[in-house]
């Protein structure tokens, strides 16, 4: 328990260790810790930013979905309207077409009737002439009796 040169030795050792610690131990460790701190802060920052971005994107997506639903409904409504319009048009057209066809057919029929009547008239006059000739025993001069024949035909 004597005080002696050991004190001096210990003092020198202390100075040496402090110097070494100051030069080679403290700065790299502290700078590594600070760097990591900065990195972690950066990471946390990025994470919160990403979360905000995600929220934003989600709300935007929801909005877009709502909008597109709305648009789809509009389109469907328009399509329905258009469809009924097309159907109406088609009905109208077919009605017109049908009327036209009916009119044409009636005209044809009228025409046919007239022609048949004309034929019939002609044949009747001929038949009358032949009958008269038979009755009179001689041929009737058709040309001489034409006026009579025509009169007959008109009466028929």
């Amino acid at each position: 328990m004597n005080m002696n040169l050991t004190v001096l030795g210990q003092l020198i050792a202390f100075a040496g260790f402090v110097w070494f610690c100051m030069k080679y131990v403290w700065p790299p460790l502290v700078s590594a810790m600070q760097e990591r701190q900065a990195k972690i802060a950066e990471g946390l920052d990025a994470a919160s930013r990403a979360a905000r971005d995600l929220e934003l994107a989600q709300s935007r997506a929801a909005e877009q979905l709502r909008e597109s639903k709305h648009q789809a409904a509009e389109i469907i409504e328009q399509a329905n309207k258009r469809a009924s319009q097309i159907i109406d048009e088609a009905k109208e057209q077919s009605r017109l077409e049908g009327e036209r066809l009916v009119a044409a057919a009636q005209a044809d029929i009228e025409h046919e009737i007239n022609r048949a009547r004309e034929d019939l008239r002609k044949q009747v006059s001929e038949l009358a002439a032949v009958g008269a000739a038979k009755i009179l025993g001689q041929s009737v001069d058709t040309a001489a009796h034409q006026r009579l024949l025509d009169q007959l035909a008109d009466e028929l």
């Binding site: 050991t6 004190v7 001096l8 210990q10 050792a13 402090v18 610690c21 403290w26 900065a38």
Partner: protein, 288 residues
């Protein structure tokens, strides 16, 4: 038994001393009692407590100095290994441990020291870890390393450097010199002298009284640092030695609780030494 017990205790409290014996000194052989007179002054290893005492100041405690330097080297080696490979990415185990310690010390410095001085951190870290490592040698059973040393021929061996007043005073004087250095650096010689002369009573009539108080206060700082650490460690050591006097089968009843208690004492003393170092250096930086 009383005699041998006393011998055992004093033996365990004696450092391995290498020093200068003056010419004409009579050495007594402790085994056969023969006396030899030295013709010239010689540097040698003390073979008895009396010889160690007679060597006076010109002596070195090889065990204290060796173990403290070894522990300091261990600190420096471990931490510089961690520092060399330090990355800002995911740290390894060693780096993790070292960073925890550094962060702890840094927190203490930030809380206590309000100036700006990049030296305070390394000083506090060195003080804390080094003293902790030196104190922790107490956990090694008291007869273990001294037994090996005596087999190797060393007459005495005491491994805890902080249970040697030389060990604690060495560090405390280092802190004291730092206090003086920073006081003068921050305040200038005049400012420091003025602080010593005009506090606590700011009147020229009180200068001698103030000087007496302040110088005493200044000198008390290293003294309290050194004696507190030494007292705690020495007392703990003595208790371990006393427990070692018990029969071997009964020792565990006392020395296990005592060793567990030192899980508190050893870091606490290192911590107190570090905190007081920071506080004293902080005071040295304060301008009144």
């Amino acid at each position: 038994m009383a005699d041998s017990s006393q011998e055992y205790i004093t033996h365990h409290l004696q450092n391995l001393t290498y020093g200068k014996l003056p010419a004409g000194y009579v050495r007594v052989n402790k085994y056969d009692g023969t006396e030899t007179e030295l013709t010239t002054s010689t540097w040698t290893i003390a073979q008895s407590s009396q010889e160690a005492k007679d060597m006076g100041f010109m002596a070195v405690h090889l065990d204290s100095l060796g173990w403290s330097v070894f522990m300091g080297a261990l600190f420096v080696w471990l931490f510089s290994r961690a520092a060399k490979k330090a990355t800002a990415g995911v740290p390894g185990t060693l780096q993790n441990i070292c960073e925890s310690v550094v962060e702890f010390v840094q927190g203490m410095v930030k809380d206590t020291f309000h100036g700006r001085n990049p030296m305070i951190g390394p000083i506090a870290l060195t003080v804390f870890v080094w003293i902790f490592l030196m104190n922790s040698l107490k956990w090694i059973p008291v007869d273990f390393i001294p037994g090996i040393a005596s087999m190797l021929g060393a007459p005495y061996f005491k491994i805890v450097p902080t249970a040697d007043p030389n060990g604690t005073f060495g560090v405390a004087i280092g802190v004291f010199l730092l206090i003086l250095f920073y006081s003068i650096k921050v305040k200038g010689v005049g400012g420091f002298a003025k602080e010593l002369s005009f506090t606590p009573f700011n009147h020229w009539l009180f200068i001698p009284f103030n000087l007496f108080l302040e110088v005493l206060g200044l000198l008390t700082k290293p003294l309290s640092l050194a004696l507190r650490l030494f007292g705690n460690m020495y007392a703990g050591e003595v208790v371990f030695i006393l427990i070692a006097l018990l029969p071997f089968y009964a020792q565990w009843v006392l020395n296990i609780p005592w060793a567990i208690f030192h899980i508190l004492v050893i870091p606490l003393q290192a911590f107190i030494f570090m905190v007081l170092t920071i506080v004293y250096l902080s005071q040295a930086h304060e301008d009144h």
